[in-house]
Amino acid sequence: MLLGPSLAVSAILFSLGVVGVLLRRNAIIIFMCIELMLNAVNLAFVALSQQLGIDGQVFVFFVMTVAAAEAAVGLAIVIAVYRHRDTVNLQNINLLRG
């Protein structure tokens, strides 16, 4: 039930996350867009778990765990970078760019 529409919503949300990553320069907003992409994938997992068994829902737990760990470490990196450069704008943080 509602498998196709759920996957369509998931695809649109994922693409919006990608567009956000490409569109913004603020590191924190880029992180939020990555969370949005992870959520879109979770939605696809849950939608498919209706037909392919409950294992899809178990996977969503692991995705959430990884997302939580990624947010904690990523925001710690943002804080560390902000201490050095006084900005979170990625245009000014280009030391690692080739």
Binding site: L22, R24, E35, Q50, Q51, L52, A69, V88
Partner: protein, 171 residues
């Protein structure tokens, strides 16, 4: 009724996600993202994942977004700066890439699931009905997926230590 609720919450989720990536202030972006997460939790309920909906609200809309707002306010980024959006060229590239991606993903929906993998309709709904929303998820999590579960706990420990080490002034 269920279909109407599905489209309602889908619309709210998509509109909120769009506002999240276009608002200039990071706080506004974060609050629209919370709105998206709540709508996705509602979609989880419609898709028979009741426990995941609760976890979604607790972990995503609660814990992770509080962490984001905490960092935004710690770094005093709440004021809308002079546009962190890319220029018109970057916007065009982002829009085209997004449209191509959404086209590809929507085309993927045409793939038909192999018939021998598909369970009879309502299997998951029945499992949730019989065992309860928590047990239906907990049984595979603690039996078939026990090792990944333990590895996930180890990963959380590493993330805690890593976050402390990275954010500390002097190690």
């Amino acid at each position: 009724m269920v279909t109407f609720a599905f489209w309602l919450f889908s619309g709210v989720a998509i509109v909120s996600a769009f506002l999240c990536i276009t608002r200039r202030s990071p706080v506004a972006s974060a609050l629209w993202l919370v709105n998206t997460f709540f709508s996705i939790a509602a979609l989880f309920i419609i898709l028979d994942a009741h426990f995941l909906a609760a976890v979604q609200v607790l972990v995503y809309a609660g814990a992770i977004m509080v962490l984001f707002l905490f960092v935004i306010m710690l770094l005093n980024l709440g004021r809308p700066g002079p546009g962190d959006m890319k220029g018109w060229w970057g916007r065009g590239v982002a829009g085209v890439a997004g449209l191509v991606l959404v086209g590809e993903l929507l085309a993927l929906r045409l793939v038909v699931l192999p018939a021998q993998l598909v369970l009879p309709a309502g299997t998951v709904a029945n499992a949730v009905q019989e065992q309860g929303a928590v047990q239906a998820v907990a049984t595979p999590l603690f039996q078939a997926y026990l090792v990944p579960f333990e590895i996930a706990s180890l990963m959380l420990l590493v993330a805690i230590v890593g976050a402390v080490v990275l954010a500390k002034r002097r190690v």
